[in-house]
Amino acid sequence: MAIPALVLFFAFHTLPALTGLFYSFTNWRGYGTWEFVGLKNYINLFKDARALDSYLFTFKFAIVATILVNVISLAIAIGLNAKIKFKTTLRAIYFIPNILSVLIVGYIFNYIFTFFLPDIAQVLGINALTKSILGNPDLAWVGVVILAVWQACGFNTLLYLSGLQTIDDTLYEAGSIDGANKWQQFKAITFPLIAPFFTINMVLAMKSFLMVFDHVVALTGGGPGRSTESISLLIYNGGFAGGEFAYQTANAVIYFIVILVISVFQMKVLQKREVEV
């Protein structure tokens, strides 16, 4: 049974990846004729301030979003795991944003940022917010973070919830007999025991936020200026709309390596933490 799987995997995954790698050493525009240019694309990439800017934006966005998503998801998960009414219904409600398409949600948020928030700010007299934050190059990324975090929390909450269910209730009983308060219980029991889930959540969230694309398309299209142009969007814009297919393929290859390295690094560091506990 392994061979067909291998063939399929090779045909639909490895082969396209290798083709991409191959084209990154050419000057192919996506059509027409091409020739080999060696490492020219990679060298130009390191001189490209625009690529650097988009790396900076993407990392800033991904780190902030990852931290926020994990903090909020963990809080929601603990809340939903407690003995409350309508537990199942609430869990379903918190998961809903994750099912909706980002593009559609994006247009709703677009409306909120463009009309709803400025109107409220006007009434309250907060001058700084009377203009759409998506039109402000210093603030537009915050809008993207808000949408991304709101949307991603459901999924990570679900993972944390399943982690919390693995903890034996007797541990808390023992803890409360020893006189530990809620915070001490969380620090000494809950958090260490869901460490593997924490690891996987951090890695998954970071990876998906580094690849952010549709959130940006729906909210700002990379603007204003180039202030919210993520790496995926740059690859798409430059490669398809800008006719620099081979050049942006080189960008994609480097980007792949970067994400791989970060994910492996995160796993190593976070897993070490798990063992110590």
Binding site: V7, G30, Y31, G32, T114, G135, P224
Partner: protein, 412 residues
């Protein structure tokens, strides 16, 4: 077990392969010639439907299938990557058309007799895009890059169409002091900033800017100072939230009378009228200079008709027949009456009173091409302009334009 699964996989792959090849075969063997007509204008879908039906009635052996997709240029590029070229195409006369022509994707139209029936200035505009004497398509319609204005409000405020840059600013000033908004700027969509940019650049960049820039004889820094400054000065006459509003919101706002002037091309008129059927709109050429006789209207090829270089025999004949059909006077007139664009066919004129003020420019030939069609698309100038409008640093902006130009050229 293993054998079965390998067999299933084999059948699947063969199936995939055959379906992939099927479509093409049918088209050649069948009695009817089937052609795809890939076009980029959402507004024109119904107009083409009508013309195609008429064509198919006259030519029962040819079947034309119109294909419009949003973001058509991106779609076209990704289809080209698979070597899947539409048979007949209606494209915008911009940098991408030039690149496709250069790459040998488009059929040659150099000996086409219809070329004599269209206005030469537009043929030259297209030739400049791919930089050769050959032709890779026939210009069909042209557009105009204008300032739209609310006729009722102009009357109310006692304003006249400005003829010079100074008058233009004075008009804006008057509107502002009357408590109205002069311009509804929609810079959330970066491309909308290119409307005033193109009018200013076309009139101010000087002769042969692109040709000289390519060989390094001039720079943006030398020639574009005034363009950038005048563009930036428009921000004094804005509404509160220029970078929060986009094209669609701008069309609606202008239709509802929230601004007196609107920096858009004639292509926006349709959707403005949709938002408010009672509005009376006029259009004039943005007066970029102070010498009235020198001011030119920016107009470009809105649609160029062309076909794939891969076609031959009967298919090529049919494709050409269809293109020639669209260019016939009667059909060209029908098209521009519906779309409010202008025809490139000699003797076919736009009679809509809305664009009366533009007529003298077309009649006297005071037409300039869109400057941004000649910038390499990898530069993504609209975003750079948007960034500049946010920070207002002219020097840094012009340096950046020059840098990006050089970088994009060094990558090719």
């Amino acid at each position: 077990m293993k054998k079965i699964s390998v067999f299933i996989l084999f059948v699947l792959l063969v199936g995939l392969f055959l379906t992939g090849c099927g479509g093409k075969q049918e088209a050649i063997d069948g009695r009817k010639i089937k052609l795809e007509f890939f076009q980029n204008k959402q507004e024109a879908v119904e107009t083409y439907d009508y013309l195609i039906a008429k064509f198919e009635k006259e030519n029962p052996d040819i079947d034309i299938e119109q294909n419009f997709v949003p973001e058509s240029e991106t779609v076209l590029r990704s289809r080209l990557a698979k070597n899947d070229i539409p048979e007949v195409m209606g494209l915008g006369g911009n940098a991408i058309y030039g690149e496709l022509a250069k790459a040998g994707i488009l059929a040659s139209f150099s000996d086409d007799p219809k070329l004599k029936e269209v206005q030469e200035s537009y043929i030259r505009m297209l030739q400049d895009l791919h930089g050769r004497v050959n032709n890779y398509g026939i210009p069909y319609t042209s557009n105009a890059n204008t300032v739209l204005y609310n006729k009722d409000k102009f009357k109310e405020l006692g304003l006249e169409i400005p003829k010079t840059w100074n008058e233009f600013i004075a008009t804006a000033e008057k509107i502002k002091s009357a408590g109205e908004t002069p311009f509804y700027l929609t810079f959330k969509d970066a491309w909308t900033a290119m409307i005033p940019w193109n009018s200013l650049a076309a009139n101010l960049q000087g002769e042969d800017f692109i040709k000289q820039r390519i060989v390094g004889q001039t720079t943006f820094k030398e020639r574009y100072d005034e363009v950038a400054k005048r563009l930036y000065s428009l921000l004094d006459y804005d509404h509160n939230d220029n970078f929060g509003m986009g094209y669609n919101q701008g069309n609606t706002a202008f239709a509802k009378g929230k601004a007196v002037m609107y920096l858009q091309g004639v292509w926006a008129i349709g959707s403005i009228e949709q938002a408010n059927p009672d509005i009376k709109i006029g259009a004039f050429a943005l007066p970029a200079v102070n010498n009235v006789s020198e001011n030119k209207l920016v107009s470009g090829v809105d649609t160029v008709l062309t076909m794939s270089a891969k076609l031959d025999g009967k298919e090529a004949e049919a494709a050409k027949k269809f293109i020639h059909f669209l260019l016939e006077k009667e059909n060209a007139q029908y098209y521009i009456d519906q779309e409010r664009t202008f025809s490139t066919v000699k003797g076919v004129y736009q009679n809509n009173p809305m664009v009366d003020d533009l007529k003298p420019y077309f009649e006297s030939g005071k037409i300039a091409a869109f400057p941004d069609h000649y910038y390499p698309s990898g530069m993504q100038v609209p975003n750079l302009v948007q960034e500049f409008l946010l920070n207002g640093d002219v020097g840094a902006f012009l340096d950046k334009l020059d840098n990006e130009w050089d970088k994009v050229y060094s990558r090719q």
